[in-house]
């Protein structure tokens, strides 16, 4: 045999003794038959005190509640080797080393070991000795326990891989400095938990939610989902593509990114489904060997941003609609005014006053944020230029919607301008009486009577001007009402009736 050949050429006992690894040899009665210097060094014992002694008598698990369990495991391993004739391993053995202090007291150096027990047989195959080879794994074991404390029942998991894997690797090279690593790990967890975005760690092929932060909890309506597979935890996601995405990330290791992705989610506790918009990323979590353990989910709820952008688009569309319609209105006023005013100066004056009238009504509406305007205000706006003392306005408060206010503004402008040119507001003693009332409260109609008195007598014009056409058309077309103009000797009167509730008209 190789070893026997080797034994002839070197001093095997001297080599055994020189090994930096602790070794000890037991006989079949589990008494110390020998040990090397490394063993004596780590156990702080002397060879003469140990030789011939039963190992289980010498073995002292020291303080701690796991002492007797560790002793039982050790004895069981020896028994197994004796019975089977095969080597046995103890992955972790807790064995504090008692160290006698100069003052006679005993202190324990708390250490963890990994042991291999190898049978040594005679020519007949019977086990005559057991060789114990020991490695000191104290630092590694401390680290493992600290990480395991997070979720001891799932020691090998996506979360371990995410925050524990790197630490283990580093622990190999900087075993002594584990306090710093522990603090790094805590900081990493703190960042997870306190980040304003949502974070979750999904473990294994079922995407078990292993950990999530407050923002994630808020997103899912603070349901209790930790420890549940995603399909069970968030069943409303079925058919929305998220499960498939997670499966894909786990299968391919390719991250997945969603931008402003709509999701139907139970956002409030026990609430109905609402649409949220999420920016998110699914990243694979790998362990030390590169195997994909789970999926790291992080993202932001961007619902408010998305809705604000939609509102803004609607407002811009509406603004564009209004601006273009207003420009078309101005275009129409320009064209119609040009047809009845060949003199450029007279055209400019009339056109400008019509545009200003339109603008005044817009000012009124802007003050109410385009909610509407009061009838009296609109009337006063359009007639003030002709002297308030020459007009009597009499009627209740009537609120007009924006379209009605714009129409009536233009109508009153035409009536007032006409009166100033040809009727009761020409220089003299003429007056204008405007009375209005609302009739039929079930289906309210606004009746307005514009009466001119004391001015020159007026006759129906031979050709209808733009002003009277505008009044008639505007009332009928835009306001779904009726307008009647009476040209009488004592002045013009106009009767306008319009439904206030156009839907019911």
């Amino acid at each position: 045999m190789g070893l026997r050949t080797l034994a002839k050429t070197i001093d095997l006992v001297a080599a055994f003794d020189a090994s930096p690894n602790p070794y000890m040899l037991l006989d079949a009665d589990l008494r110390y038959a020998g040990m090397n210097q490394a063993y004596l060094d780590v156990t702080h014992r002397r060879r003469e005190d140990l030789l011939g002694q039963p190992v289980m008598q010498e073995y002292d698990a020291g303080p701690g509640e796991d002492a007797s369990e560790n002793a039982r495991q050790l004895a069981a391993s020896f028994a197994k080797v004796l019975k089977t004739g095969k080597p046995d391993h103890l992955a972790v053995l807790h064995y504090p080393i008692p160290i006698e202090q100069p003052d006679g007291t005993v202190l324990y150096d708390d250490r963890y070991w990994s042991c291999t027990h190898t049978p040594i047989k005679d020519a007949s195959g019977s086990v005559t000795h057991i060789l114990q080879h020991t490695s000191d794994i104290t630092e590694l074991e401390r680290l493992r326990r600290q990480v395991g404390r997070l979720r001891p029942e799932e020691a090998s998991s996506a979360l371990d891989s995410l925050i524990g894997g790197g630490m283990f690797r580093r622990a190999m090279s900087v075993q002594a400095d584990n306090r710093r690593l522990e603090s790094e790990r805590r900081q990493l967890l703190d960042i997870f938990m306190q980040t304003p975005g949502f974070v979750a760690v999904l473990n294994g092929p079922e995407h078990v939610i292993q950990l999530h932060n407050g923002a994630y909890g808020q997103l899912i309506g603070h349901r209790d989902v930790v420890g549940k597979p995603i399909r069970e935890a968030l069943p409303e996601l079925a058919g929305q593509g998220f499960y498939d995405c997670l499966d894909e990330v786990l299968a391919t290791g390719e991250p997945f990114q969603g931008r402003q992705s709509p999701v139907q989610l139970q956002h409030m506790p026990n609430g109905s489904l609402t649409t949220r918009y999420l920016n998110f990323i699914y990243q694979p979590i790998r362990n030390d060997t590169g195997a994909i353990m789970g999926v790291f989910v992080q993202g932001h709820d961007v619902t408010d941003t998305v809705l604000a952008a939609e509102r803004q688009k609607l407002m811009i569309d509406e603004l564009n609609h209004r601006v273009k319609n207003t420009l078309a209105t101005v275009q129409s006023i320009a064209m119609q005014t040009a047809r009845s005013h060949e003199d450029p100066r007279s055209f400019a004056e009339t056109f400008q006053s019509r545009i200003l009238s339109l603008s005044h009504t817009h000012d009124l509406l802007t003050r109410s944020h385009w909610e509407g305007a009061d009838l009296r205000e609109v009337l006063e706006h359009e007639t003030a230029a002709h002297g308030l003392h020459r007009l009597t306005l009499n009627g209740p408060s009537v609120s007009l919607d924006p379209a009605m206010a714009v129409s009536l503004g233009m109508i009153f402008h035409e009536l007032a301008t006409n009166a100033a040119k040809y009727g009761a507001l020409t220089p003299g003693e003429g007056r204008v009486l405007v009375d209005w009332s609302v009739a039929d409260l079930n289906n309210p109609h606004l009746a307005i009577l514009w009466r001119e008195t004391g001015g020159p007598s007026v006759a129906q014009p031979e050709r209808r001007g733009f002003g009277s056409r505008l009044i008639e058309r505007n009332v009928r077309h835009d306001l779904a009402g009726t307008a009647q103009m009476h040209y009488r000797d004592n002045g013009l009167s106009a009767e306008i009736t319009i439904p206030l509730n156009k839907e019911a008209a």
């Binding site: 609609h321 078309a328 209105t329 101005v330 129409s332 505008l470 835009d478």
Partner: protein
């Protein structure tokens, strides 16, 4: 050439009277007979289905807060060609109606004439 549209009956749907008056003036200048103008969808539908002979229509897209497309469907069913008028331009139309001749507010007389001649397949040659 200017009387290519002479005597054509054109339905106008437009909710703002001043804009309707403008269209009326422009169409009458081109020799067209204006049908309407109608200020809402309901009256527009009645005109689109009952007016005896219509050669074309000018349809405002947003009519008093409602979309004009039911009227467009009725006209299409009768084989009456139509032009949309809108402040948004063609980009504001739903997919289904894009490609239909569209004039954008404010209009020019030329744009209205060109669009009408195009939908009625009248060529200047």
């Amino acid at each position: 050439m200017t009387n290519a549209l002479q005597g054509r009956r054109v339905l106008v749907i437009e909710d703002e009277s001043l804009v309707a008056m403008l269209l009326e003036t422009i169409l009458e200048d081109m020799g067209c007979a204006v049908v309407g103008p109608e200020a809402n969808i309901d009256d527009g539908l009645i005109a689109a289905t009952t007016e005896a002979s219509l050669d074309a229509a000018l349809l405002d897209v947003n009519v008093a807060g409602r979309e004009v497309f039911p009227v467009a469907e009725a006209l299409r069913a009768r084989g009456v060609p139509f032009v949309f008028s809108t402040g948004y331009g063609e980009a504001g139309l739903p997919e289904h109606w894009r490609g239909n001749p569209t004039i954008q507010k404010p209009f020019t007389e030329g744009a209205i004439r060109d669009a009408l001649m195009k939908v009625m397949n009248i060529s200047l040659a």
